[in-house]
Structures are given as C-alpha cells and as structure tokens.
Amino acid sequence: MQTPDEIIHQPVRLKIMAALNTLQSGQWLEFVALRAIVQATDGNLGAHLGTLESAGYVVVKKDFVGRKPRTRICLSRLGREAFSRYVSTLQAILAPGSLGAEDADDG
C-alpha cells in the first residue's frame, strides 16, 4: 500500500492543506484567516507554510493593502492533487479489505 505523503502527514500542515482545499481553485486565503482556522502561532504557521511552499503545494503572495502588508495563500494544482492522493491513502488504510489484509498478516 502507498504510504501517505510525509509533507502533508504532519498535524499543522495537514490542517493548512485541509483549510486551503475548501477554497475554489485560484481563491486566496489571508494569513490571519488561515491562522484563525488552523489555530497556530504566526511563527509555527509561517514555518510550515515555508515547507509546503518549497514542495510546490501552496503559493504565498505578499502585497500591500494601502500601507498595510498582507500575506495570502493559495493551494496549487500540485498541492490539490497531493492532498486528494493523501486522503485516498488514508481511506484505503481504513477500507475493510485493508483491515482484512492486516488481520491476515497478523494471523
């Protein structure tokens, strides 16, 4: 069986990906909104976003609204596909056939 994507399989990054996956393609979420949804600190969220950005799973855009800096995040197509695969892998682990195979292995 395929192992889950190690980049996504980390609690905070999983939450980030799950939150961004609810948005439509090309829709952005502000950093402060994502922080409220994921319930992480600025530093922690920033670090995990860096990891996801390096993997090409998210796109981070920084701009200004008036004089106020704004950071927005969007799930990339690669990220959406990876998240979909990740969920499928988890579901496969829980599938009855999979449990039967584990039982058989145990037996």
Partner: protein
C-alpha cells in the same frame, strides 16, 4: 511508515473538523458583507421614510434596486460559484413576494405595520438558519426580531428613527461581528 488505522481515522477526523471550520469562516465572511449592505439599506430607508414619508415607496424601490445590484456583485466576489446571481435574485424575489403577499392578505395596514414585515421575516430566517447551521445567525435573528418588535410595541412615537437603528444598526453590527470571527 504506514500509519495505523487509528492514526488514519484521526487524520480524517482532523480534515473534517478543519474543513467545517474553514467553511464556517468563509460563510461568515461572505455573510458579513451582505449584512452590512442590507443594514445600510434599512438604515437609509427608514431614515428617508422618517424625513420624506410621502415618497417612501419610491425611495424604497430605488434603494432596493441599488442594494440588489451591489449584493449580487458582493456574492459573485465571495467565490460562491456559478449561478449565484440567479439564486440571489430568486432569494430577493421570494422575500419581496412574501412582503407583498402579507400586504394583500392583511390590507389595509399602517406604515408601521408594513415596515415590520420584512425585518420580522428576516429575523425568523436567521433564527432558523442558525438552528440548522451556525449559532451566530440565531443570535442575530433574535436580537433583530426583539429590537424591532420592541420598537413596534413600545416606541411608536419614535418608530422610524428606532427602526433605522434597531434594524439597520443591528444588521451592520452583526456584519462586523461575523467579520471578527
């Protein structure tokens, strides 16, 4: 390493929880803009009714067309998906039809009675929506209904200014409250 079934189930539960939270966040965000818009609509409408009672119907008509146009634009910008303009128009048409139907059934009605119909209907809708979906909507509906009804029962001498604040003000504050979520 492959996660255990328990870890996989926990991860899926986390995904569900976050998806629900994110959807709620977006829902409140989208609704906040609409609440502020319709709050301004009522604030201006009731104020103008107080100042120019003879032209009230025409003024409400103009305000309604303007608010619907802005409302559709806001809804489209919220990423609500295709067909939102038609659904929005359908919603507004239903509400206007309800108000007209109540007028027909209970005619003749006073200006104050007429002014109560839409806010009470909106209040009931928010209470029901809150019971079914998200609790903040119930609070908004209860506050809106209570203040408007209280004004009708106890503050008739200052009814129009009261309604501008109770209905318009409540919706605007509710919009800001949802935005702070």
């Amino acid at each position: 390493m492959l996660p255990t079934a328990e870890e996989a189930a926990q991860a899926l539960r986390d995904i569900d929880l976050i998806s629900h939270r994110a959807a709620g966040f977006q829902d409140y965000r989208a609704e906040s803009g609409q609440l502020i818009l319709w709050g301004l609509f009522y604030l201006v409408g009731f104020t103008l009714t107080f100042c120019f009672p003879a032209q009230a119907l025409a003024l409400w008509g103009v305000l309604l067309v303007g608010a619907v146009a802005i409302g559709i634009r806001l809804a489209m910008n919220s990423g609500a998906g295709g067909g939102i303009a038609l659904r929005y128009l359908g919603l507004i048409t239903t509400m206007v039809a309800f108000v007209v139907a109540v007028h027909v059934v209970f005619w003749p009605v006073s200006g104050e009675q007429s002014a109560m119909i839409a806010p009470v209907f909106v209040s009931a809708l928010y209470i029901l929506r809150g019971i079914q979906l998200r609790p903040r909507y119930t609070v908004i509906g209860l506050v809106l209904g209570t203040l408007c009804l209280g004004g009708y029962l106890f503050l008739l001498p200052v009814f129009w200014p009261w309604m501008a604040m109770a209905c318009g003000g409540t919706l605007i504050l509710a919009g800001l409250w949802l935005r702070s979520h």
